[in-house]
Symmetry: C2
Subunit: 247 residues, 2 copies
């Protein structure tokens, strides 16, 4: 068998998240379906992570194994897979890698972006959260900066998940205005790993700061609680993008 | 009566173009409907131009007249109109202007942008034309530069239109890569005025150049023909944006 890394993008709205689930249309499920037809044997797709229902990916990485004697060249497979996948998933690249390279375990950094718009925008169409115009981005950035570093993010994760530790190394967390898009902002957040629901809970808490409901330094108190209930509400999935994965 | 300039944006897909037409949902029709309800008397909306069915507007300007004693302040009207208009039209601004200011006759320049994507993009979703990856943008830019200046654009207009002259002053016409969006390009075109269907016919002709079907200098021959049949096919409306109007 030969191992390949796939680089891909997908819209979140049409899918019930990344991970295969019986009776649901998922990104992993669609990829495995299409690739198995093309390769003529079952193909398992391992992603760098699992995005929740509705979450978009601008750049996701996954690996697959294919038989050595597999006749189609990767570029042929790319073209055929893209035409079979429909408009909502695009594979950009299929590259051979070492047999033990792993899309999930070898990833050293994930970056997500969360988009908000402070004015009505007919082209944001469910891709940006409609934020109140008075949101205080300067206060939100002060709060975000306090969260940087190696910390326990239990307060920002879904309860009862099966991971062994809730410690993440948060490397970047800041709001930026979108260039040339009046009223649009995005939150860039990068870490070695993310817990389930973490980005949307962090953004929800920062929005509480931006609305003046809590002071910026409260995020430290919330982190210390190690209790999901103390953080802000989770934000809608549609405005969240897995932006990049680094190896 | 007081005259006001409206700045607005709209998605093209849900509408049968700008101009009111019996039995069709149009942008002008929706605006007149909503504003007439709010102002409690018929309000006529005059746009800087008429976009065809499916064409988007990032920034359109229009004028309306409202009675002097009209009770709602422009900012109140803005908020109420935006909530009644639904997600596909956004009014950004309502400003009082001189009684004889005219959204159409006083406009000195219109700019359109046409978007294409040379790779599959789940987020372009009918907002960018899927172009062949081999399109020669350098040749297209040479052809576009030849069209600049004050010229007769009959070859690029719909036949049998009711305008008196087909002469336009083409001031900018060039393809640019979209920053940070791999594979996406846009064609920027600005003139004092545009004829019906002109941008989409110009883009169609340039795409013929980019595909190597005609040499760049052929655009001069096509202009000289003054005959619509000599230009390339008109491109789909969904990737075209009225980008700006200047006064």
């Amino acid at each position: 068998m030969m191992r390949y890394f796939l680089t891909l993008a997908y819209r979140g709205a049409p899918f019930h998240g990344w991970q295969v689930q019986p009776g649901q249309v998922t990104v992993q499920g669609r990829l495995e379906e299409v690739l198995s037809v093309l390769v003529r044997q079952p193909v398992a797709v391992t992603g760098a992570g699992r995005t929740d229902a509705g979450v978009n990916a601008r750049r996701m990485v996954a690996h697959i194994d294919m038989p050595d004697d597999y006749a189609l060249k990767p570029n042929m497979l790319l073209r055929s897979a893209n035409s079979m996948l429909g408009p909502d998933i695009a594979i950009y690249d299929i590259q051979p890698v070492a047999f033990d390279a792993h899309a999930r375990f070898d990833a050293t950094e994930r970056e997500y972006r969360y988009f908000v718009t402070t004015r009505k925008n007919p082209f944001a169409m469910g891709m940006a959260w409609p934020a109140p115009p008075s949101l205080d981005f300067e206060a939100m950035n002060r709060a975000a900066a306090l969260m940087l570093g190696i910390r326990d993010f239990t307060s920002f994760s879904k309860l009862h998940t099966d991971v062994k530790t809730n410690i993440c190394d948060l490397r970047r967390a800041a709001w930026h205005p979108c260039p040339e898009r009046e009223g649009m902002w995005y939150f860039e957040i990068a870490a070695d790993r993310f817990l389930r629901n973490m980005v949307r809970a962090v953004v929800g808490t920062l929005v509480d700061v931006g609305r003046g409901k809590i002071p910026p330094q409260d995020v430290l108190r919330i982190l210390d609680c190690k209790n999901r209930c103390s953080a802000g509400t989770s934000m809608p999935a549609e405005a969240l993008f897995l932006w990049d994965v680094k190896y």
